[in-house]
């Protein structure tokens, strides 16, 4: 399982599958699990090329649905309105409609592929930033052990004597920063 690295939820808990009495909890569960269900459905579709429709009715009589390629397409195939019966019959072997349908599918698939790649990229970028953060955090820990962070203690803890010294140090630092910034050739942001 992935290590939890943030958030304040209670983590994995064995839950009994029965009606949830508390309204708030029920609603949260509905939201999360519905989302997870759609995600799983999308994975099934992407991995195996299946066509899927998921329809969920909420307590408040809202309909949440997910479909690949689309809810409508699946409904037309599975539960065609009598008038659509003739059309439904043609949702059979694609060679009947040939090229046109396949092109649409291909285009969709390409697009999905692009989006999927975008997800992958974003995810790996997040991972990269997080590891940069932990690298720096390690260095900070080392520096703290080395008493380099004396100034980080709660400002409250610093007495009146230290503060002016700290003030001077900071001001000198800022002057240095300005000096260096001015020295540097103008860089594009």
């Amino acid at each position: 399982m992935v290590r939890p690295h943030g958030g304040t939820s209670m983590g994995r808990q064995r839950i009994e599958i029965r009606h949830i009495e508390t309204k708030g909890q029920r609603q949260v569960t509905f939201s999360k699990r519905r989302s997870g269900l759609f995600k799983k459905a999308s994975e099934l579709s992407m991995l195996t090329g299946a066509s899927i429709a998921v329809v969920v009715m909420s307590e408040a009589r809202n309909a949440f649905c997910f479909g690949d390629p689309s809810v409508d397409a699946i409904l037309r195939r599975y539960a065609p309105v009598p008038g659509e019966a003739a059309a439904a019959a043609s949702v059979g072997p694609s060679h009947v409609h040939g090229a046109a349908r396949d092109d649409d599918d291909d285009r969709d698939r390409h697009h999905h592929e692009e989006l999927r790649k975008a997800v992958e990229d974003a995810r790996s970028q997040v991972a990269a930033e997080k590891s940069r953060l932990s690298e720096v955090a390690k260095k900070i820990e080392a520096a703290k052990a080395d008493r380099q962070f004396w100034w980080e203690a709660d400002v409250e803890a610093l007495g009146e004597a230290e503060l002016p010294e700290f003030t001077r140090a900071l001001e000198k630092l800022m002057a240095n920063v300005r000096r260096h910034a001015d020295d540097q050739p103008q860089q594009q942001q």
Partner: protein, 245 residues
Amino acid sequence: MARNKVKLQRIANDAQRRATFRKRLKGLSKKASELATLCSVDACLVVYGEGEAEAAEVWPSAPEARGVLERFKAMPQLDRYKKMTDLEGLLRQRVEKLQEQLHRARIDADQSETKLLLAEALQALRGGGGGGCGLERLTIEQLTSVGWMAGARLRTVSDRLETLRGQAALVPSVPTTTTTQAPDHLLGMVVSPHAITGYTAMAEDGGLGGTAAPSGDMDMVVQASSSGTAGFSWASQGFFSFPSM
């Protein structure tokens, strides 16, 4: 089951794909069932395997599923489409969320890095790090961040100083934009009996008041360890011991 992250692409191997289909279909049905029970809602799944001629896999049962779908179809079009998503929608949502995460992660990492740079620069001021001011190799963005963070600290410190001085009923008149031309030796630790007395007599003597010459005011830094600093009245304020110089 997080052994290897499966790449979300159509599985090339036929047998593997069929097996995955079976397994995941089962899992999907289970999840749907749990959702329905936990939240007492109606739901249905309709799944067509890849081959065109496949019969539909349906959950919960054909009649029940039809029931849900009929209710669904009976809804006004607007309501039906309000919460409808497809693969593209889901993927887009995910990208958005990840972008947000990325943005936040970047900020966190940048903040930490700036903190580290600030520490190194302050360290250099104390004479550590073989000369130089610790700012040489920074980019302009890093310089800006460090300067900003230093400024923020300065504000906190100044405020704190004001508060402390106000508490001690002293004239809070020492300007915080003090001399950056403070003699270098003052950045080290210097003990001044005069200033020490001034502190222990905080109440009466406006030790930090406008009367004392600015440079005199500055001699308030105290060496923690060896010079017998016990008994300072503000020691109980949580005097923070400095690393020995």
